[in-house]
Structure formats: structure tokens, C-alpha cells
Chain length 206, copies 2
Amino acid sequence: MGLSEKQLQILEVAEKLFAENGFDGTSVRQISKEADINVAMISYYFGSKKKMLEALLNYRMSDFKIQLESILSKDTTYPEKVDDIVAFVVMRIHKNRRTHKIINFEYSKDSRSINFEKYLQQKDENYKVIEAFVKKGQKEGVFSKKVNIPLIVPTIMGTYFHFYYNKKFYTSLHKLTNEISLDEFVRTTLTKHIQQTIKALLIYAN
Amino acid sequence: MGLSEKQLQILEVAEKLFAENGFDGTSVRQISKEADINVAMISYYFGSKKKMLEALLNYRMSDFKIQLESILSKDTTYPEKVDDIVAFVVMRIHKNRRTHKIINFEYSKDSRSINFEKYLQQKDENYKVIEAFVKKGQKEGVFSKKVNIPLIVPTIMGTYFHFYYNKKFYTSLHKLTNEISLDEFVRTTLTKHIQQTIKALLIYAN
DNA sequence: GTTTAATTTAAACAATTGTTTAATTTTGTA
DNA sequence: TACAAAATTAAACAATTGTTTAAATTAAAC
């Protein structure tokens, strides 16, 4: 599944347009025009529009299990580890926000015949690492035992995405102006809020 | 803006299909077929496909400010009020989940020329009521002053929607089988998780 | 019962969709 | 330089898109 320079260039354009206007809302001619290639190149390189999306998903969903485990193996306190995990996850999904947006909408459809194996695999690995970490903290008496572990990740990712999907609303609420200050806001304020939330939940849940 | 029985029947079919396959992924012929009407009726009743969506949004986004305020005016403790607010918001967005899904998708687009006034108005009212409540709690020393108030609602709604968008994944994780147990899960487990989270955040945030 | 208005219909509209074709150009190799 | 493979092109394809038309049917008003 090695992708050429040209293929990657096309996928980046496709990612942007799919995230902006949806998979069905984007035509292959739009992509070809913006990527400055001939329409037929999409079928030539990827086989079809659908397979092009699958190629994008598989490309973006490379393993982050290793990075997550390296955070947990560091010699830090439990609250510090929570901060690190949250900061890492938020940074990661913010970087891949466009692909995640496409996934959110395509995956939640009933009919769609797109292959989401890589995404589900990542989600599964992700969950198992978090679960082991929280259970260890519970055993050591640091974390509350009243926490619903499978719902921790939805709170982290959900908070980010609800903010992102409504960024027009929240940027006006926070008086943010451009894309640069959005990155800054995510990296500082939003990350901090989620860190506070998850730490409070894990430690004080009742 | 009074909608006839027939118009409502069409809108319900449209809501279901838009949520399942997206606005662009649903054709007016699909809607007309499923609603058992002639295609031309959509233009006849609503003017266009786009205006039909707007009619749906305006219909579903009726004011819940009043209900929110009635919760806050009850003679209950602050933590109880948090529980009530969360339960109410979750119930409400779960009921309107299909329309919210359409909104999340369409509103986050750059280009789209759909009128989201009613939705934004509700979001604004919603926020102002929550803000006043939290600030009052802070002044009385019940809530932490280190909370980022505008990000509380994203955590509530985001947790719900990330769960909902990935329900295929989480229902298998929780061993849920059908739609009935999904409703039950949302009403009990998911609501409880969000209540725990928001209470921990508001009271113990550091 | 007649007339007027509202509703419903099938058909047609031009535009756009994803994909394929077959010819041409470019690139790499011997 | 000559040849083969890869890349690129414009054109065509059938299917589907949202919307409009004008005729037909139904309902309401007088």
C-alpha cells in the first residue's frame, strides 16, 4: 500500500474537500480541478472515489498505540499521566481532524460500504491501553472505582469534536479570529479544560 | 410557518434519511418514494430541497430555554441541579439526535448557505442560562472558579454525540443489542457518566 | 351543481454525477 | 535512438440529480 508523492498530493486535496463538503458533497471533478490533475487519474490511481477515501483513512490511521504506551511508561504521577494522555490525544485528533470528521459522518451511516477496519482497530487498541491504565490506578487507590471506563475516551474526543464542529459559534464566543489562534486555543485552553475534566472525573467521581 | 400534517409526515421521512445518508447523500426521489408522495410535492410544499431542510431545523429547534429555567428555579441543591440539567440536555438531544446530526454536519461546512438562525439562537440562550447558573454557584463557593464555562456544554453534548456517532463500536463494547437497549443505555449509564463528569469538574476542578 | 382553488401527477428539463475508453504524451530502460 | 511501460488527456457513457411544466384530479366555496 505504498503511496506515491502524486497520490498523497491528491489525497490531501480530497481530505480537505471531503471534510469541508462531505464525501457525497464533493465531486471527483472538484478534486481533480483543485489537485490540478485529470479526472481519470482518480480511477487510474485508486480505482474509484470510494477506494480513494479508504486509501486516505488507512493512511491517516497509522498506529499511535506505541506513542500512548511510551507516555504511560514514563516515570510520572498518575495525574501527570492523565494530562499527558489527554494532551497527546487532543493534539493527535486535532492534527487528523479532517479525516476524523469524514469518519464520524461516514461511519455512523447505516448503509455505507466503506472499510473502516484500520479506524476500528486503532479505536480498540486505544481503549485497551486506557482501560489498563485506569484499572491500575484504581487498584492503587488513586482513581475512583465509580468511573465508567469505556466512556472516558468519548468525553475526551467528544468535547474536542463538538467544539470543532461548532467552531464558528465558539470562536465568536471566545473572540478568536483566525486559524492560527484556533490552533493556539486547542493547544492551551481546550486541552486544559479536558485535562481538568478527566482528572476531576477519575479522582473524584462519586 | 404552520406545518400541515402532510408536511410533517414528509419532514419526518426526510429527517430519517438525511441523518442516515447525509443531506447530499439523500435524493428528493428517495424521500418522495419513502414518504409515498410525488417528487414535485417537495418543491410544491417547501420550495426546494434546501428549504425543506431549513423547515425541519426550525421545527425541531423549538425553545427549551423555558424548561431549562424551570429546572434551575426548583428548590434543589447545586449538585442536584447539575444532575437535572445534564439529564434534561441528554434526553433532549437524544430525542432530536437525527436533526442534531444533520446540523453538526451541515453547519460545520464552509460553503453551505443554509439558515441556522434558530439553532444558533437556541445555543446562545442555552449557554447564557448555564453561565449564570455556574457563576452563581461559584459566588456561593460551591463550584470551582477554575472552570472554563463555555466548554461545559461541549463536554456534555460532545460526549453524547461521540458515543452516538460511534454507537456501532460502543454497543459492541457494552454488549448492547437493539435500539431499545440503546435508549435505556443513554437514559441510565451514559447520563450518569456525564453527570459524574460535570459534577466532578464543577466541584473539584483544579 | 358550478366554479374556483388546492393538490397531485407523469413527463421533461438541463446539469452533474462517477467511470471508462482509446488515443496521446511522458518517462524509464536497454 | 528505439522500445516498452507508465502517465495523462479529452471525450463519451449511462445514470442520477433538483426543479419545472402543464395537465389532471380532488377539495372547498358559493
